[in-house]
């Protein structure tokens, strides 16, 4: 169970949130100009590093904000949490 610090609400239990998946790379500007491998990588190959990852969480049973957090996959420590604009 994670404790996620919401910049508006403070530390809250994971059950108040919904996981929104890893923060993806920016969508390619012009997909007609990229090859299939790059496009498939963008769509379906999430990064899975040992260490800090950025992921999105929705504080749906709280203030309603979408957060981007930086979580260390080795320790589950949440290093950073910010509200998406």
């Amino acid at each position: 169970m994670l404790q996620i610090s919401c910049p508006f609400c403070g530390p809250r239990n994971e059950v108040e949130f919904v996981y929104g998946g890893p923060l993806k790379n920016r969508r390619p500007d012009d997909i007609s100009q990229i090859d299939d491998t790059t496009w498939i990588d963008y769509l379906t190959v999430p990064k899975n590093p040992l260490g800090p990852v950025q992921e999105r969480w929705w504080h749906v049973r709280g203030c309603g904000c979408w957060l981007t957090i930086t979580r260390d996959t080795r320790s589950h420590d949440i290093i950073e949490s910010e509200i998406e604009s």
């Binding site: 508006f8 609400c9 403070g10 530390p11 809250r12 239990n13 059950v15 108040e16 749906v60 049973r61 709280g62 203030c63 309603g64 904000c65 509200i83």
Partner: protein, 166 residues
């Protein structure tokens, strides 16, 4: 058996939901009868008649007794609100419960993972949280807590509260 608490369903309240830019909302809703807007997240400011809850970055709730609903509507004028803000009458959308008495906090501990100690959830604390798995508004009051849930969950919430005290 059970805790030393009183659990009761409260009468209908007048509620207005406000969303949008804080300055635009404060410019739209100016009335000497209203309290100030809270300046700390998840807190309320109350005067004799009205309460204002700050529950999200650009989200407030105004509340009064149902008898004052017309006055609340006059002050907030939902149908004429400018396009950049949202002002919606939501009185019927919420049902309120009160959990009061010496053991009120014990029931809240069963119901919700929120840290309801005074250091984290002050005298004027108000916040949406997870209450028996349902999104609900938790409000600290004099002798305990109030809980508001969407109306369709009211019977379920009543049942959960009774079972927590069984």
């Amino acid at each position: 058996m059970g805790y030393d608490v009183k659990i009761q369903r409260l009468a209908l309240n007048a509620m207005i939901d406000l969303q949008g830019d804080a300055e635009a909302i404060k410019n739209w809703i100016k009335d000497d009868d209203l309290p100030e807007f809270p300046n700390k997240p998840n807190t309320s400011i109350t005067n004799q008649q009205f309460k204002i809850y700050w529950v999200g970055i650009e989200h407030w709730l105004m509340r009064s007794e149902i008898e004052l609903e017309d006055h609340l509507l006059e002050m907030t004028n939902p149908s004429a609100a400018p396009i950049e803000i949202s002002v919606v009458q939501v009185s019927d959308a919420f049902k309120f419960f009160e959990v009061s008495g010496p053991d009120a906090a014990e029931i809240i501990s069963i119901a919700s993972p929120i840290d309801h100690h005074l250091t984290a959830f002050p005298e004027n604390g108000v916040s949406f949280t997870n209450i028996f798995g349902i999104k609900g508004l938790l409000i600290r009051v004099n002798n305990g807590f109030e809980i508001a849930v969407e109306s369709s969950y009211a019977d379920l919430m009543a049942d959960f509260l009774q079972k927590a005290n069984a």
